[in-house]
C-alpha cells in the first residue's frame, strides 16, 4: 500500500498561470506554535486515521492528519444508510463509529507517528467526564501534534443538547478536555455553524482554554427518499458538507477573524482546490482542512497544497502566512473612480 499515485482530479487554476514567474513560496506554517509543512490537512472523519490515504499521498508531507473523532469506548456507529449525495455536497450520519480511545492510542496513533505524520487527534465525548478522560488519555500520549475537540455531540447530561450550540456548555467541554492536555500541545475547538451567534461561542471556548478554532463542522440537514417517502438516513438528520457549504464556512471564518484577529483558525468546509484554500486564508484562516473532497479525490490534501502554492506565487505572496486575513483590509477603490 505504498504505491505513489499519478496526478489527480480537479484542477482549477486558470488565472494562476504565469506563476512560474512569481516568488518561491514556502508552504510551511506555524499553527498555534506547531510547525506544519503545508497549511492543508485532512478533516476529521474524512481520512479515518490516515493509513488508508497512504496509497494516494505521502502522509508525512501533508500539513497534518486530523483523525476521525474518537470516543472513550468502541462505537458501532449508526445503522445504514449513513450518507446521501446532495447537490455539490453530501449528508452523513455515521454516528462516530470507532475503536475507542484505547485501541486508537495503541494502533492508530503509533502508525501516524512512525510514518512521520503530524497527528491532530480529534476527540468527542457525550459528557464532561468523557471529555476530561479523553483529554487525559490523549494528553499523556507521546506524538500528538495537537488535539481537536469536537463539541458537535449531544450532551447526554443536558437533554441531549449539542455542546457546540451553547456558549456555556461548549466552554465546559473544552475546559474539561484541556485540563489533561500539556500546555505545549495546542487544543483546537471545533465549532458548529448552526448557531445564532458564532462569535460568542468562539469567545467562550477561547476563554475556556482553547488555543485555536476549527471552523466549521457540518451544518444539519435532511433528505427524504422519493420512493420510500421516509428520511434517507437511518439517523434521520445528517451533517451537510462539501463545496455546497463553502460560502457558509468562509463566512464563519470571516466573522470570527474579524472579531478575534489573533486567534488561530483552521478553516474547513468545501475546500476542493488550492483557490478554495486561498479563499479561507484570505478570510482569516491560518490553515485549512479538506473533508468531503477527499472522497472525490483522496490525493486532495496534497494536490490542494500544490495548487495553493501556485495561487500564492501568482499573486506575489511568499508564504501562506502573508495571505491570512488579507481580505479584511480596505477594498481598493472601485474601478471607474479616478480621483
Amino acid at each position: 500500500m505504498t504505491v505513489t499515485s499519478q496526478p489527480a482530479a480537479v484542477v482549477d487554476s486558470s488565472s494562476d498561470v504565469g506563476a512560474a514567474s512569481g516568488p518561491v513560496v514556502d508552504l510551511a506554517i506555524e499553527l498555534a506554535g506547531v510547525r506544519l509543512p503545508t497549511p492543508v490537512m485532512t478533516a476529521s472523519g474524512c481520512a479515518a486515521a490516515g493509513r488508508e490515504l497512504a496509497p494516494f499521498l505521502d502522509v508525512a508531507a501533508i500539513g497534518a492528519v486530523v483523525t476521525k473523532s474518537v470516543r472513550l469506548d468502541p462505537r458501532s456507529g449508526r445503522a445504514t444508510p449513513r450518507m446521501v449525495e446532495t447537490p455539490s455536497g453530501m449528508l452523513n450520519s455515521i454516528g462516530l463509529q470507532g475503536p475507542g480511545i484505547d485501541a486508537f492510542l495503541a494502533t492508530d496513533l503509533p502508525w501516524l507517528v512512525s510514518h512521520g505524520a503530524r497527528a491532530v487527534v480529534s476527540i468527542a465525548g457525550g459528557s464532561l467526564g468523557e471529555y476530561a478522560e479523553l483529554g487525559r488519555r490523549v494528553g499523556s500520549s507521546p506524538g500528538v501534534a495537537a488535539v481537536e475537540v469536537n463539541i458537535s455531540c449531544p450532551n447526554v447530561e443536558n437533554r441531549g443538547l449539542v455542546f457546540a450550540c451553547d456558549p456555556f456548555q461548549a466552554a465546559r467541554a473544552v475546559s474539561a478536555a484541556r485540563r489533561g492536555i500539556p500546555r505545549d500541545v495546542p487544543v483546537l475547538a471545533k465549532l458548529s455553524p448552526d448557531v445564532t451567534d458564532l462569535v460568542s461561542i468562539a469567545d467562550s471556548v477561547m476563554e475556556a482554554g482553547a488555543t485555536g478554532l476549527t471552523l466549521i463542522n457540518t451544518t444539519l440537514g435532511l433528505a427524504i427518499d422519493h420512493d420510500t417517502m421516509r428520511p434517507v438516513l437511518a439517523g434521520t438528520t445528517g451533517g451537510l458538507s462539501g463545496p455546497a457549504i463553502r460560502p457558509l464556512a468562509v463566512r464563519c471564518v470571516w466573522q470570527v477573524h474579524q472579531a478575534m484577529p489573533d486567534v488561530p483558525i483552521v478553516g474547513v468546509g468545501g475546500v476542493r482546490t488550492g483557490r478554495d484554500a486561498f479563499e479561507f486564508l484570505l478570510a482569516g484562516a491560518t490553515a485549512v482542512q479538506v473533508g468531503t473532497v477527499v472522497f472525490h479525490d483522496p490525493s486532495a490534501p496534497h494536490r490542494v497544497a500544490n495548487e495553493l502554492q501556485v495561487a500564492l506565487a501568482a499573486r506575489g505572496l511568499r508564504s501562506p502566512a502573508e495571505a491570512v486575513g488579507l481580505a479584511h483590509q480596505p477594498r481598493p477603490r472601485p474601478e471607474g473612480t479616478d480621483d
Binding site: T2, T80, M90, Q97, T292, F295, H296
Partner: protein, 288 residues
C-alpha cells in the same frame, strides 16, 4: 509493489451498449497488473465542476495488463442516476479519474474443487475473470446467470466459454429457466458436488445463496454492493454487520474488508441495522 490501488486519469477507449448495459473500456495503465477477480474501481463522475462529488464503484469485468494502448480495465454498468448517466455519455479519448483496484477479491480454493458461480444481472461481470483463475487451478466451473429479463443478463455467450456448464434464469421467462438463480442452485450444488459457491448480485440474492450454501455444507464467497461514498476506507458509510473469527460482530467497511465476504460471516438479515451485541452497539446516538 504491485499491490495497493492507483489513482490516475483513465482514458475512454470504447463504450458499447450490451443489452440494458454499457460496457466501458478504460486505458488505465498499472491497474490491470494489480487486479484480482472481485476487485472494483471507483470512478469520479461529472467533470471538474461536478455537483456529484462521490465516486461510483464498479466491479472490474476484465483487466488487460498491456495492449496497443497500455493496460485497460473494463466495467459493465446500468444507467441508474446522474453518475452513470454521465459515464454513459463519455466518448473515446475522454478522461475519467480512476481509482483501482480496490477491495478484497474472491478467495480462491487451494484444491482443484468444483465451483459454482452465480451472477445476478450485471453481477456476472466479475465472474468471468474468476472463472479463468479457477480453471487455471484445475477447478471445474459451473455458472448460473440470472436476471429479471433477457436484456438484463450479461455475458451468456462468454459464460459458455468460461464454464463447463451454464444455467440461465429469467424471472419473466424471456430466456432460459423461468425463475430466480437461487431456484436452480440446490440442484446444481448437489449435481456438481460443489465445494465453493461464488456470488455477485443484489443483497437478497446473496443472502439466499449464503443460506443455501450453508444448508449444503458449501463455502460461499459473496460480493456485496453497499452504498459507498469514498471506496477507499475513509468514510465509514459502507458498513455491514459481519461476525469475525473471534465471534464478535462488528460493523465492517465493505470497501476495504469486502466487497467479497464469506457468506456465513455476514448477518444478512440484519443489514441496515446495528444488531444487538455488535461491538460498540448503539446507546444514545451522537450526531457526526
Amino acid at each position: 509493489m504491485s499491490t495497493g490501488p492507483l489513482q490516475l486519469r483513465g482514458r475512454v477507449l470504447k463504450l458499447d451498449r450490451v443489452g440494458d448495459y454499457q460496457h466501458l473500456t478504460l486505458v488505465a495503465p498499472g491497474v490491470a497488473e494489480r487486479t484480482r477477480p472481485g476487485a472494483f474501481v471507483a470512478l469520479a463522475v461529472g467533470g471538474d465542476h461536478s455537483a456529484t462529488l462521490l465516486r461510483r464503484a464498479f466491479s472490474i469485468y476484465r483487466a488487460k495488463a498491456s495492449g496497443v494502448y497500455g493496460g485497460t480495465v473494463e466495467i459493465v454498468f446500468a444507467v441508474h442516476g446522474p453518475g452513470t448517466a454521465w459515464l454513459a455519455d463519455r466518448r473515446p479519448h475522454d478522461e475519467i479519474d480512476v481509482i483501482g483496484p480496490l477491495g478484497r477479491p474472491f478467495a480462491l480454493p487451494k484444491e482443484p474443487v468444483p465451483c459454482v458461480l452465480v451472477g445476478g444481472g450485471y453481477g456476472s461481470a466479475p465472474l468471468f475473470g474468476l472463472a479463468d483463475r479457477l480453471r487455471e487451478r484445475g477447478c471445474s466451473v459451473h455458472m448460473v446467470l440470472g436476471a429479471a429479463s433477457e436484456s438484463r443478463l450479461f455475458g451468456t455467450v462468454q459464460a459458455k466459454r468460461s464454464a463447463q456448464s451454464v444455467v440461465v434464469t429469467t424471472e419473466d421467462g424471456s430466456v432460459g429457466t423461468p425463475g430466480r438463480a437461487t431456484d436452480v442452485l440446490p440442484d446444481l450444488l448437489a449435481r456438481t458436488n460443489a465445494a465453493v459457491v461464488y456470488a455477485c448480485g443484489p443483497m437478497g440474492m446473496l443472502s439466499a445463496i449464503a443460506a443455501l450454501a450453508e444448508q449444503h455444507g458449501v463455502w460461499s464467497q459473496c460480493a456485496v454492493e453497499e452504498q459507498m461514498a469514498c471506496g477507499v476506507g475513509v468514510c465509514m458509510t459502507c458498513v455491514l454487520p459481519v461476525r469475525g473469527d473471534d465471534g464478535v460482530v462488528r460493523m465492517v467497511r465493505s470497501c476495504v474488508e469486502g466487497p467479497v465476504f464469506r457468506g456465513d460471516r455476514v448477518l444478512w438479515a440484519d443489514a441496515g441495522t446495528i444488531p444487538a451485541g455488535t461491538l460498540g452497539a448503539p446507546r444514545v446516538g451522537g450526531h457526526a
